[in-house]
């Protein structure tokens, strides 16, 4: 875990909300190392989602630098961002964001069609325990199942990093644990780097490191010596 895959330096983000400027990030330094699970904790508005979006190329920093494998993301063009998302990053959102008109299998195939070395869609779905639900549409799946399809879709292209924004936010504890198990299995088997935003402090137990955000800054970084398995997470 010595090479940082992501490194953010002095990142600020200011939103221009009419007459006032809102500081979402006020100078954040953060390194993500290959293969680690980083959990980002903090109250609403503390800046964790903003940082994740900047790292994923969905948003741009106002000042500061974000590097991915040494490449300066802040200098990327629109086209380079698209390519970056296509090749390197898998996203998981709170509300799954599946395509309702495509089945589980097709939702995964959507991504594998445009990737250079993808898994087979069936294989990705099998990894998240949804082998039997491949022909179902999102509307026919439970929330937990939909989130696992989203995970299968994110991992199918074998991304180097997965950015998860409240992946269990809309789920009950039982299905939430299933989703965490899927994520941790992928981290172990594929060595995928993960950044997970959560409000649920219990989830910090599965992380290698925990970043606590407050008022647009990182207030604390803690290293987990004793990681728990998802099933052991107290919800």
């Amino acid at each position: 875990m010595n090479t940082p895959i992501f490194s953010a330096r002095e990142v600020t983000k200011v939103y221009d909300a009419g007459e006032v400027e809102v500081f979402a990030l006020r100078g954040v330094d953060l390194d993500l190392y290959e293969g680690e699970i980083a959990v980002l904790l903090g109250p609403s508005g503390s800046g964790k989602s903003t940082l994740l979006n900047i790292m994923g190329g969905l948003d741009q920093a106002t000042t500061g630098a974000v590097r991915f494998r040494g490449e300066e993301l802040t200098a990327f063009s629109e086209r380079q961002f698209t390519r970056f998302r296509r090749v390197h990053v898998g996203f998981i959102f709170q509300f799954y964001n599946l395509i309702p008109s495509l089945t589980a299998w097709e939702n995964v195939a959507l991504v594998t069609e445009i990737s250079s070395n993808p898994m087979k869609p069936g294989e990705a779905l099998e990894m998240v325990g949804l082998k039997d639900r491949m022909t179902h549409f999102p509307a026919q799946l439970s929330g937990g199942e939909q989130q696992r399809v989203a995970i299968a879709r994110a991992i199918a292209k074998r991304p180097e990093v997965m950015l998860c924004d409240e992946p269990t936010g809309a789920l009950d504890s039982k299905t939430g644990i299933l989703v965490l198990e899927a994520l941790s299995r992928i981290n172990e088997e594929m060595k995928t780097t993960m950044a997970i935003i959560t409000h649920n402090a219990g989830i910090r137990q599965i992380a290698h490191r925990v970043f606590t955000f407050k008022d647009g800054r990182i207030a604390d970084v803690a290293v987990n010596d004793q990681r728990a398995r998802p099933a052991e997470v107290s919800w």
Binding site: L58, T82, L110, A139
Partner: protein, 787 residues
């Protein structure tokens, strides 16, 4: 302003582009309605007022010559309110500065006082004085074309003598509102006019003292016109009466009627198209708005707003859009109405013709449009009212799709997931997909309907002027001549080829159906005026029997082998039975032909010719004109080459105006349908499209989903539009069909292609406007909100 009204105002401001697109479609409906009905009323009411005030006749008849004392008998017919016994003579004019001869009709008016029927509207000057010979009143269009004012003079060949006539007044006659010269298909004010001379003067010139050769009768409102026609025929039979007829056979009246029929057809067909499309669009955007506002509606209900208040809120939204449409449409309709009326004024001579605007017309147009919009809104609004607050505040059940294309099936290899997304979305709302396609297809249909007239008219010009009537000039004699006259004409300067013809007016009867028309003779081996068979190849008429046009065959229900009753109007109405031996094509008038010898035998007064058709060496045209102007035997000279040019120019100008209007209408429909449809899709699928962007799809790939769907609908609309356009065009052709002329039904393939091209271009443009919104999609915001 209540809070709900504030919400309404903000909703409208937010979706101004969509609301305006719908308002424009609605405006087209209102404008075409105001235009068609307004123009119809203007023309109809102006005509009727002109007819009434200037006592336009209801029964007409020509004859050879009859004594004036017949007046007593004619006046005594039951129901007759006025009789005018006139002298009407075709004449040739020699206008200063005009090489070719102009044609005119000289009509007698009483020496003093106004005519009992067909009175004249005096625009300027005074009536001609019978005491001064050579004074005339001329019709306004002719005077305007030659910049004549009272005091101007021109030369006319009157009964073989050239006389100089002095204009004393400029007039308009209800009889010549639409004045067609000999051989013309559209009025040419320069080459045809009507002038009026005092009875004694004209009688002196044409040796008609104490006699008349034309009757015009005005009848009482409840008179039995048929009985009057019968009685008149009986009285005029010994005097060469050519058969009494009503207004329907009067050229000017018939043309105006034709125009009115077309306006009525336009009012019945075009506005409903726009009202239908606008109702559909209102339904589409309101349904979407209500889905988006579902939770707000639940909340409003929960805090105590009743279903009436909420219904009224959305009804008001619909009505505001409708009002904008009505305002734009009323303005546009008014503007177009003035334009159309100005165009009419070029063809129809009325003392006054203004675009009549009445409040009721606007009120009707507004009410119909508002009702159409509300009809479109009803279902969407009902869905709001029906929901209980608790249900409304929960998000709607997720949309269920079906596996038309199975995820693991073989079809998968054929389509990308993006294509499958688009196809499933289209098939999830089949009715909406079909209605969107139908809306777009109406634009294609309108364009086909507008553009096909170019094809048809080009074909008609080619057929009539280049295949059938190939002469340069048609010279008609005042009285039928012996065939020797042909040699004299052939010897005239510049004449290359001369072919004689004979015409005789008849009534043709078959099985209780009858038509007044003219039988024309065609010489053996005719090369100038040729008869064209149903495939438009030249044919010789059979040596016996009648050769009739398809129109005559269908009007009189005749087939080859049927025997027709021919009543010879010039020959004391002798009746002869003649078989139909050939059916041919003709686009002008009611054509019936006979071989020359056969017609001579039928009429029974030996070989006679009514006129000669000639082709001319163009370099000697001026010489020919000079001779024609000096030859007393000629009643008229129809100059085909000039007519051809004039017809083409006039018709093409009219078609260009019409096509521009229709194209604008089609563009508005296409934009309204495609833009709104794209906006709705974008609204419904913003989340999906944003997800695709996050997954690494490029802007182009993401837009392709939306563009594919729109493309699918637009492509689907094309064949549908071609079929509808074909049917609309066919109905236009049928609507135009009259005894005066018919338009061939010709649509070239290029016309379909051009119509489609225009619609596809506008659709693409509309889609690209929406595409810019995809490019600007705020990924983070879209993905973090729950639908």
């Amino acid at each position: 302003m209540s809070v709900l009204d504030r919400k309404l105002l903000r909703d409208l401001l937010r979706m101004w582009a969509q609301a305006l697109a719908i308002a424009f479609v609605m405006a087209c409906g209102v404008a075409t309605l105001v235009l068609a009905i307004g123009a119809y009323r203007s023309l109809e009411e102006t005509r009727s007022a002109f007819y009434d005030r200037y006592r336009f006749a209801t029964v007409f008849s020509g004859l050879t010559r009859a004594p004036l004392y017949l007046r007593e008998r004619i006046v005594s017919f039951a129901g007759v309110s006025g009789v005018e016994l006139r002298i009407v003579e075709p004449v040739l004019l020699d206008i200063p500065g005009m090489a070719e001869p102009a044609s005119a009709i000289a009509v007698s008016i009483p020496d003093s006082g106004e005519p009992a029927v067909n009175r004249l509207y005096l625009r300027t000057g005074r009536s001609p004085d019978p005491a001064r010979s050579g004074e005339v009143a001329v019709t306004e269009p002719f005077a305007t074309a030659h910049r004549m004012t009272p005091g101007s003079t021109f030369d006319a060949i009157l009964n073989g003598r050239k006389r100089t006539l002095t204009v004393t007044g400029i007039v308009l006659s209800p009889e010549y509102i639409y004045a067609l010269g000999p051989g013309e298909m559209v009025p040419d004010q320069r080459r045809f006019g009507v002038f009026f001379m005092p009875r004694t003067v004209l009688a002196g010139i044409f040796d008609m003292d104490g006699a008349f050769n034309d009757v015009a009768i005005r009848t009482q409102r409840d008179a039995d016109i048929h009985a009057i026609e019968g009685a008149l025929d009986l009285v005029l039979r010994p005097f060469g009466g050519t058969g009494a007829h009503g207004r329907t056979d009067q050229i000017s009246h018939a043309f105006l009627d034709n125009e009115l029929v077309q306006l009525r057809a336009m009012a019945a067909v075009i506005p409903p198209i726009f009202l239908f499309v606008s109702a559909f669009l209102v339904n589409m955007i309101l349904s979407r708005l209500i889905v988006l506002e579902r939770e707000q509606i639940g909340l409003m209900k929960a805090v105590g707003y009743g279903p009436e208040a909420i219904t009224w809120h959305y009804v008001k939204l619909t009505l505001v859009i409708a009002l904008i449409g009505i305002a734009i449409g009323a303005g546009a309709g008014n503007w177009l109405g003035h334009g159309l009326t100005a165009l009419y004024a070029r063809f129809y001579s009325f003392p006054f013709l203004i675009f009549r605007q009445s409040l009721d017309l606007y009120a009707i147009a507004a009410a119909i449009s508002a009702l159409a919009a509300l009809a479109g809104a009803t279902r969407a609004i009902w869905s709001v009212v029906a929901l209980s607050p608790a249900v409304a505040m929960r998000p709607p059940a997720p949309v269920r799709y079906r596996t038309f294309f199975s995820g693991s099936g073989r079809l998968l290899t054929a389509f990308s997931q993006l294509t499958i997304m688009a196809l499933r979305h289209l098939m999830r709302w089949p009715l909406r997909t079909l209605l969107t396609a139908l809306g777009t297809s109406l634009a294609v249909a309108l364009l086909v309907t507008a553009l096909f007239s170019f094809d048809s008219v080009a074909f008609m010009v080619d057929t009539v002027f280049f295949r059938a009537e190939r002469q340069d000039v048609t010279l008609s004699f005042r009285l039928a001549q012996s065939p020797r006259a042909l040699q004299s004409v052939a010897a005239m300067p510049g004449v290359l080829r001369a072919e004689p013809f004979r015409v005789t007016p008849v009534i043709l009867r078959h099985n209780h159906r009858e038509r007044r028309l003219v039988i024309s003779s065609v010489p053996q081996g005719a090369d100038l005026a040729r008869i064209l068979d149903l495939d438009l190849d030249p044919v010789e008429p059979p040596i016996v029997g009648l050769t009739i046009s398809e129109r005559v065959a269908s009007l009189l229900d005749m087939r080859i082998g049927d025997v027709a009753e021919v009543e010879l109007l010039e020959k004391a109405r002798r009746v002869v039975l003649v078989p139909v031996t050939s059916i041919v094509q003709s686009y002008v008038g009611l054509a019936v032909y006979m071989q020359a010898d056969a017609l001579d035998r039928l009429v029974g007064d030996g070989p006679r010719i009514s006129g000669v058709r000639v082709t001319i060496n163009p370099s000697r045209l001026a010489d020919l004109y000079t001779v024609v102007k000096q030859t007393p035997a000629f009643a008229s000279a129809a100059l085909q080459s000039i007519s051809r040019q004039h017809f083409r120019e006039t018709i093409e100008e009219n078609i260009t105006i019409m096509t521009s209007v229709y194209t604008a209408l089609a563009v508005i429909i296409t934009f309204g349908v495609v833009y709104n449809s794209a906006r709705i899709q974008l609204s419904e699928r913003a989340r999906e499209l944003a997800s695709l962007r996050v997954l690494g799809f490029t802007k182009g790939e993401v837009s392709s989903v939306l563009l594919f769907e729109l493309g699918f609908v637009v492509v689907l609309a094309q064949p549908l539009g071609w079929i509808l356009g074909y049917l609309f065009s066919w109905s236009v052709v049928k609507g135009f069909e009259s005894d005066l002329f018919r338009i061939p039904f010709i649509i070239n393939r290029a016309t379909f292609a051009i119509a489609s091209l225009i619609v596809v271009c506008v659709a693409t443009l509309s889609a690209l406007i929406v595409r810019r919104r995809i490019d600007r999609l705020d990924l983070v915001r879209v993905l973090k909100t729950r639908e």
